[in-house]
């Protein structure tokens, strides 16, 4: 049976990884069909020439950076406030925000913004997307930072306070530096989660704030194209690097 399990594992990992590897492989194919002709970087050049893709990427980067900074600050403070306290309500709300179907979060935020715009004469735009992303990134940050907090000894802060530090000083000079790798890991995770989101974004984005996932989605709705293969390969590599960095930070 051991040998069969081994064979199965090979097939299992092939199922998980081959689709993405094939996708990346054919992004270097000169033909738009799934038959190898010869090596070409044409589809990557097409990305650079496509203003929609470039603008979408730019919007996505801006949104992801804002959402990451905001959610990392809020989430880190929240994780710190939650530890040593058995308040279940905020934790419950955070977990509920994780299991809420994305489309439901999306329409709920759309309803909120439309409702608020009755009094405020604003419009959907980049900032509504940032707010929506902050809403779902906080939970990820809290989970990652809390895991790091649990590994810290409470004796550290107690020692600082015994030596005369105020609670704020103990947090700022002792706990925060010790938490830094966890915070970095959380921020990188938030960055990828925000950059990747399509469903919620598409509900709350304004006309001038199309993100990269929205551009890809619109293209994919019209069928496969080697240009999407090329973008996909790039995204996969960038995400892979970010997540590897995040894992490394979490382990130090």
């Amino acid at each position: 049976m051991k040998r069969w399990l081994g064979f199965y594992a090979v097939a299992f990992f092939a199922f998980l990884h081959l689709p993405l590897l094939t996708l990346a492989f054919f992004s270097f194919n000169s033909s738009r069909f799934t038959k190898w002709e010869h090596f070409s970087l044409d589809w990557y050049r097409a990305i650079i020439r496509d203003p929609q893709i470039l603008e979408g990427t730019w919007n996505s980067v801006v949104i992801a950076l804002w959402a990451t900074v905001l959610s990392t600050v809020i989430g880190t403070l929240c994780a710190y406030g939650l530890c040593k306290r058995n308040s279940r309500t905020p934790t419950g709300a955070l977990y509920l925000s994780l299991v809420t179907p994305e489309i439901v979060s999306g329409i709920a935020l759309l309803a909120l913004f439309q409702w608020a715009f009755r009094w405020l004469h604003w419009q959907l735009g980049l900032y509504t997307v940032v707010l929506a992303h902050v809403a779902f990134c906080i939970a990820y940050v809290v989970i990652v930072v809390s895991a790091r907090l649990r590994t810290l000894s409470p004796a550290l802060e107690e020692a600082a306070m015994d030596l005369g530090a105020t609670p704020w000083q103990a947090f700022w000079y002792v706990t925060l530096p010790a938490l830094a790798p966890g915070i970095l890991a959380a921020a990188l995770l938030a960055l990828t989660v925000s950059f990747d989101d399509y469903v919620i974004t598409s509900m709350v984005a304004g006309v001038d704030s199309e993100t990269l996932p929205m551009v890809i989605y619109a293209m994919a709705r019209r069928g496969a194209s080697p240009v999407i293969n090329a973008i996909s390969a790039l995204i996969t590599v960038v995400f892979g690097v970010l997540i590897l960095l995040s894992e490394r930070a979490r382990e130090t």
Partner: protein, 275 residues
């Protein structure tokens, strides 16, 4: 105010403003009527909820439920032997786990798109089958229920592997050895000893797969080609093209109620052995 309380304030505010308030608005909309000029107006009514019981919408709810159930069962079937393999591997367990998680960390949109690329008429499978002469015209692999199911399974498989692995890893190997000593064949041991003991992991994994599948929107929209309407697509449709916000809100509330019900029923019952 104590420092820790101050620290909770921003998160509390964000969750209230961006999670609780929108939810209340959706709840309110689900009991309102659509006005002539688009806005939601009284009278308050349960009409939207009654519409849920129309044969058309019941069929969509039923199909979503069936799809999520089928995806969960397939994930379980695929993930259990893989988790067993990893838990019994002598070396490289962490590497295998990372290999399970790796595709999960790449973009969900990209992973869904990969199947459009592979399953389309000129995709890899059809090209191979055609060039081998097994088929003479491309098979319609994309834009059907099967493609959606495949996309859901592929998307959420890691959610099933990890919890099962976590319980298998903590299983005392002496139990399986004892069964073998008493003459049980390996498969018998797995079926009668290992599977029942890994129940908490199986339940946790199933919940983690079932919930996102039930509310899936992206996968059916891209791989179903508009034909397979799941409940997520129904919600999106009501809020965009159909302009049926009260009904869309009612569907959302029903979906949330289902998700919460599944969570409460299964996790409450299983949380003790997990802790």
């Amino acid at each position: 105010m104590k420092l820790r309380t101050c620290f909770l304030l921003p998160a509390w505010l964000a969750m209230a403003l961006l999670f609780a308030v929108p939810f209340v608005i959706v709840l309110a909309y689900s009991f309102l009527t659509r006005g002539v000029y688009g806005g939601m107006v009284p009278p308050w009514t349960t009409e939207s909820y009654r519409r849920l019981f129309d044969a058309l919408y019941l069929a969509i709810l039923g199909r979503s439920f069936a799809m999520a159930l089928a995806a969960t069962a397939l994930c379980l079937l695929l993930a259990f032997p893989a988790a067993l393999f990893i838990s019994r591997a002598a070396r490289h367990r962490n590497l295998y786990l990372q290999l399970v998680m790796l595709p999960f960390w790449t973009s969900f949109l990209v992973r869904t798109y990969a199947w459009i690329f592979l399953l389309r008429d000129t995709g890899l499978f059809n090209t191979i089958l055609l060039s081998l002469g097994i088929i003479h015209s491309p098979l319609p692999l994309l834009y059907n229920d099967g493609a959606v199911l495949l996309g859901l399974v592929y998307g959420y498989l890691p959610f099933m592997v990890l919890p099962i692995y976590a319980t298998l890893e903590r299983l005392d190997p002496a139990l399986a050895e004892a069964a073998a000593d008493l003459g049980a064949r390996p498969l018998t041991t797995v079926w009668h000893i290992v599977v029942p003991l890994s129940r908490p992991g199986i339940v946790a994994g199933s919940v983690l797969v079932f919930i996102p599948c039930l509310g899936a929107y992206l996968t059916p929209a891209l791989l179903g080609g508009g034909r397979t309407v799941m409940v997520g697509n129904l919600v999106q449709n009501q809020f965009t093209t159909a302009r049926g916000w009260p009904f869309g809100a009612a569907v959302s509330i029903a979906l949330m109620a289902l998700v919460t019900l599944v969570l409460v029923v299964f996790l409450r019952r299983e949380s003790e052995p997990l802790a």
